[in-house]
Symmetry: C2
Subunit: 383 residues, 2 copies
């Protein structure tokens, strides 16, 4: 596809993870604490309020998996093996520089991997409830949010004031609103940018460590994308089938799914997952008591670890409507039991809406590229 | 091995699951409610107090797995696939007769399978916390126990009185004490019975539905085993290596692990798992408020779904000592992430005690019989 219409700062986001290595080293040299986080359920506002640098350490490369498999079972999700592998091989700068790692009891694999990780790193695990709707779960989660505050305060040797946390909430809400404005550009038919380009910004924004500068850059990216599209039109064909991606976190090597879709006559208009739309849609209530507001908002994500996971189905239906979706592609990672089982429910849910759906399971190798191509091309052809 | 020394009622236990089909049908005809339960964490006292019949519906056969795999992912623990398969094929009388099925959010696979099961059965899911040590988990679990009481009362259209629940607690405590007396006979060198024989009683006792008659039968079995051993001596060789089994629930087809050990010069002296010692070791405090006492006791099981799972390591060490164990064999079921990851920690724990350890992964097929034989025989030979 012709990408002449793209503003130059897309490349800044595409490269953000690598550029961030140096940035995070510099922040460490300045005395900042770095807190590695794994999951969308972790309230990063607490780290920001403590003056620490939260950084995503979910890994998306198969490089350290062989080493990880010397300790972990082979039959385990590649994200977990890769993340643990980077820790034991000391080859991920973000993992290396993390003064504290915050995990949560999301899935069985991560929950138990953290026990092993704690032998070599400073790990705090939040207990995530397994349901969202009941009072008991909400109480448990509020306690866990308050405990995280204490752990981060201790690590950073600071006391987080009410204003610190309110300020962090405001700035993260602003980031969410900007990301939302940005990805909602793809509601246009055709969208101004491809799904691969959208992903660069969504994923790359995780590795920009100055929250004020990040928001400025997101604003510029949004404005320039709009402006360039107005001037040059979209490089995306008006005939491209509009695909919504759902499922496990997608980045790094699993971008092969996006590439394959977009080489096969489709365009990804949105990501109903943790690196896409999910973490940006819900704002933290700025009028509520801050920790209660954080607990309320973070518990609401629709992840398959929840039972039941009604919030995912609601978000899916809304996005399908708002983004005028032609078909849904689910990507699950190998051995991810919760997503793999929930596939049956997603399929039934979409059938009720007469919406074509395909689920592909993959890992961090490239050995299934041809198979993915065959299945996804056939899916898009029949749309 | 010569089993001439065995009291005849061993066969009653061996056959209990099958005999129970008719017994449970008769109880249904008498108007009793049947409640299917999956897990050691479910407080069966509540069903007993309501006059209902709790029955274990964890499945141990590969028969319905092919059907289950039409809905569930293949890469999932056989226990979950088998249990769900029996439900959709309506081929397990216990599942069929269950008016209510109680699940708990133990592992990812079960948690999500229950969502699908709820489409065809009357399912109530308890939220099991993922930790045991903190106040928040204990509070959540007490709420769940009280909610179960309400659900069972509604299903059975009764009100459970304080005396009902206290009586149920007493009778289950008596059962636990009797089971403990029975399996502790294997502390003797050599043990009076084989591990396969011990398992018949431990597993079979789950399918005796009159709790008073069951306790009487357990008492007789204990006395007769003791007496026969005193008269005839043990049929087990004094040279047999004393093996403790740990890991996933073991019954049905996975008894192949026990058979293989006992055909290879070993004798299983105990089962540190859900069908063996774990559910019998802890009594419910009869002096405490009954539901608080149930919540306290049931949350304490050392299962790998807990993080951390220190209670398992404590029980392992104690049993190794008390049963004079020569080696530990762990059996994990395929795709059981929590046990598979915890294996690393169990190995390290036993290494500190210089205790030989082997972990074997299996499923409900018999295709790995030769491989099991090779590995387990080699393990026992080197003890």
């Amino acid at each position: 596809m012709n990408t002449a219409a793209l503003p130059s700062n897309f490349e800044n986001f595409a490269d953000a993870r690598k550029q961030g290595f140096l940035a995070v080293k510099q922040l460490k040299d300045e005395g900042k604490k770095v807190v590695g986080v794994f999951c969308t359920y972790t309230p990063q506002e607490i780290m920001l309020a403590a003056g620490a640098v939260p950084v995503g350490i979910c890994a998306f490369s198969d490089e350290p998996i062989a080493e990880a498999e010397k300790v972990l079972p082979r039959n385990l999700c590649p994200l977990i093996k890769s993340s643990y592998g980077f820790a034991i091989t000391d080859t991920c700068p973000y993992m290396y520089f993390s003064d504290l790692i915050v995990g949560e009891t999301t899935c069985d694999g991560k929950k138990k991997m953290y026990e092993l990780l704690a032998d070599i790193k400073n790990v705090h695990v939040m207990q995530l409830p397994q349901s969202q709707g009941d009072e008991g779960s909400r109480e448990l989660w509020l306690e866990e949010v308050l405990r995280l505050k204490e752990v981060v305060e201790q690590e950073c040797k600071v006391t987080i004031s009410a204003e610190d946390i309110r300020q962090a909430i405001r700035i993260k809400n602003e980031e969410r609103a900007l990301l939302k404005e940005f990805y909602e550009l793809s509601k246009a038919c055709p969208p101004p940018i491809t799904g691969a380009e959208q992903l660069k910004v969504l994923y790359g924004s995780q590795f920009k460590f100055d929250p004020v500068a990040k928001n400025k850059e997101l604003r510029e990216t949004f404005e320039m994308t709009k402006q360039k599209a107005a001037e040059n039109g979209s490089a995306v064909s008006a005939d491209a089938k509009r695909i919504l991606i759902t499922g496990c976190p997608l980045a790094g090597v699993t971008e092969k799914v996006v590439t394959t879709i977009e080489e096969s006559g489709g365009v990804v208009v949105g990501y109903e997952n943790c690196i896409g739309i999910k973490p940006a849609e819900l704002l933290v209530d700025e009028h509520e008591e801050p920790y209660q507001a954080l607990a309320n908002r973070y518990l609401q994500f629709g992840c398959s670890v929840m039972t039941p996971n009604t919030n995912r189905f609601e978000l899916l239906s809304r996005l399908i409507d708002e983004f005028k979706v032609d078909g849904v592609v689910e990507m699950t990672l190998q051995a991810c039991h919760t997503y793999a089982i929930e596939t049956t429910e997603v399929r039934a849910h979409l059938q009720k809406q007469n919406l074509p759906f395909i689920s592909v399971e993959t890992d961090y190798s490239t050995s299934d590229t041809a198979q993915l191509k065959t299945r996804l091309a056939a899916f898009i052809e029949m749309l």
